[in-house]
Amino acid sequence: MTLSFKNKTLPLLAIIGASFLAAPVAAQEKTEFNVAWSIYVGWMPWGYAEDTGIVDRWADQYGITINVTQFNDYVESINQYTAGAYDAVTVTNMDALSIPAAGGVDTTAVIVGDFSAGNDAVFLKGGESIADIVGRPVNLVEFSVSHYLLARALDSVGLSERDVNVINTADPDMVGAFQTADVTAMVTWNPMVAEIAMLPDAVQVFDSSMIPGEIIDLMVANTEVLDANPDFGRALAGIWYETVTLMTSDTPEGAEARAAMGAASGTDQAGFEAQMAATELFADPAAAVAFTASADLADTMNLVRAFLFDKGLLTPTATSDNAIGIELPGGTVLGDADNIKLRFTTDYMQMAADGAL
């Protein structure tokens, strides 16, 4: 009885297990695509485009279907993309390298949307400059762009992370946490930065405008899916530039779009415009192309991969920051050319600039 039980059941179970657990994205032509995005000033256009039919219009133009899904949890949206449930996701340049690329998912940055120029900031209580952070506990989301900003801020005055004590704190609790007595230093991003800046004892000692162009917000897509379906990339670029042109225009329609995006991100038109001021948004595709093709991007990605390697985030077995290859426009490769997992391309943004969509 025991033997027959095992003989029959195990192979059967292996088949069931394989069929249930393995559902990787197949790299072939398809017509339905899933896009994930989360609430952040530079990504609100995706939600607005979905709500106002811009997404469907561009999808129809290329004869495809694009499902746009909002995630309340940013990290979960990236994890879902990495697991293969989504074809594209909104992500920062650093997280694109540490999560999908380090997870072996070849990822291409289709759109370089903006970079943070004040949306991320370091706050102190009772201090005047970043050097006063020495010896304090610092509340931040560990391994996020906040952590990177802290490393850059400490570096700017010759300090290192050994001089502070990092405490991992969930982002929804930042504003409340800052008002408790044992929190004296914090690194976070908008909309929390705007809230904390209004508190009486908060002193903003460093922000992302001091490292311009290093924290970049992207729309990335699975490279295999994109290569097999370039129309998906074209549609994404079409959606993006139509929406940001609208949202940055000084017209009643533009104001309405900003008000709607403000409401969707828990603030109003004025609050949203304040966040936009701290964001270097590339409404002009030619500017995005110039930024992506410039040599500065290589310097930024070198800093980012050195930071990630130092924190052990470039795969646990990485022996140097060259473990993962990053391909830049023009074919330059940073790191391992045999293991390229993150690619920057200007192709789709260039088509938008040329009016070729």
């Binding site: 025991t2 059941t9 292996a14 990495t82 072996g104 998912v105 609790d173």
Partner: protein
């Protein structure tokens, strides 16, 4: 023969006991192999070998930054919080539970209140706790206490109320006063139940511990899981989950042995 009267041979019994575990492992290995064939760097269902590497890195290699062995510092931090939370809850349950169960005035004063507080979802209180008690250890321990103490108090009080009235009347006819009844009649009968109650709350206590550590911390088992979740390191998360399960199972077993050792008479009650 009817199914309910079936007698299983020892090998069959063993096979049935092991079957769910084997099924789970085989299903995992099959899924993992399938995903790894497709993408050798897949993080979702890592191979056992990468989990072994991760365990070695977390448990037996000093951390590059701090020089500490992360698994052990995490375990120590978590067990301290858990121990404090369980200890306070158990003391509260013992004192308040018996008082509510035996003294009508205290029952009137606290019974409905504790019943009401027990219905507050503790995780919903978490943001309030962090503001009021800060982000340090106190708020984490407080969450565990708020989560499990009311239920343990109610359980204790109900056990006291369930004691046969005749026993208490009998003690009174032997001229015992209230305190002596508590000491000689109530306490010996409800103490074993206190340990059982504690065992049943272990799972909930771990839940609240991990929830609190996920919000703000710099060490702990829950902290580590939520930290590495950020870059999808299932090779660390799976061993940590297994370790937490093992710790909880050991605590459960240990508490049961403790009950039998401290209160041998409680075994005689089984199946009465």
């Amino acid at each position: 023969m009817r199914l309910i009267n079936q007698r299983l041979s020892p090998p069959a019994l063993l096979a049935l006991k092991l079957a769910p575990f084997v099924l789970l492992i085989v299903a995992y290995l099959a899924g993992s192999a399938a995903r790894l064939t497709d993408n050798p760097a897949d993080k979702l269902l890592p191979a056992l070998s990468s989990m072994a590497t991760a365990i070695d890195l977390m448990a037996f290699t000093p951390d590059r930054r701090t020089g500490e062995y992360l698994l052990w510092t995490d375990t120590a931090a978590s067990l301290q919080r858990l121990g404090a939370g369980l200890g306070i809850s158990t003391a509260l349950a013992l004192v308040l539970g018996i008082a509510i169960g035996i003294f009508p005035a205290i029952r009137a004063l606290l019974g409905p209140f504790v019943g009401f507080v027990a219905m507050v979802p503790p995780l919903a209180l978490l943001p309030v706790l962090f503001i009021m008690l800060g982000l340090g250890e106190i708020s984490k321990i407080a969450l565990i206490v708020i989560g499990i103490a009311p239920i343990m108090i109610r359980d204790m009080a109900q056990r006291v109320l369930d004691l046969p009235r005749e026993q208490i009347v009998k003690a009174e006819t032997l001229s015992a006063n209230s305190w002596l009844v508590v000491w000689r009649v109530v306490l010996p009968q409800v103490l074993p139940r206190l340990i059982v109650s504690l065992r049943l709350q272990l799972g909930a206590a771990f839940l609240f511990l991990i929830a609190a550590e996920a919000i703000s911390s710099d060490s702990g088992l829950g902290y580590r899981i939520f930290l590495v979740r950020r870059y999808l390191s299932m090779d660390i998360i799976f061993p940590y989950v297994a370790w937490i399960t093992f710790l909880a199972a050991m605590a459960d077993y240990g508490l049961d042995r403790l009950r039998r050792w401290l209160f041998p008479w409680s075994e005689m009650e089984v199946g009465k």
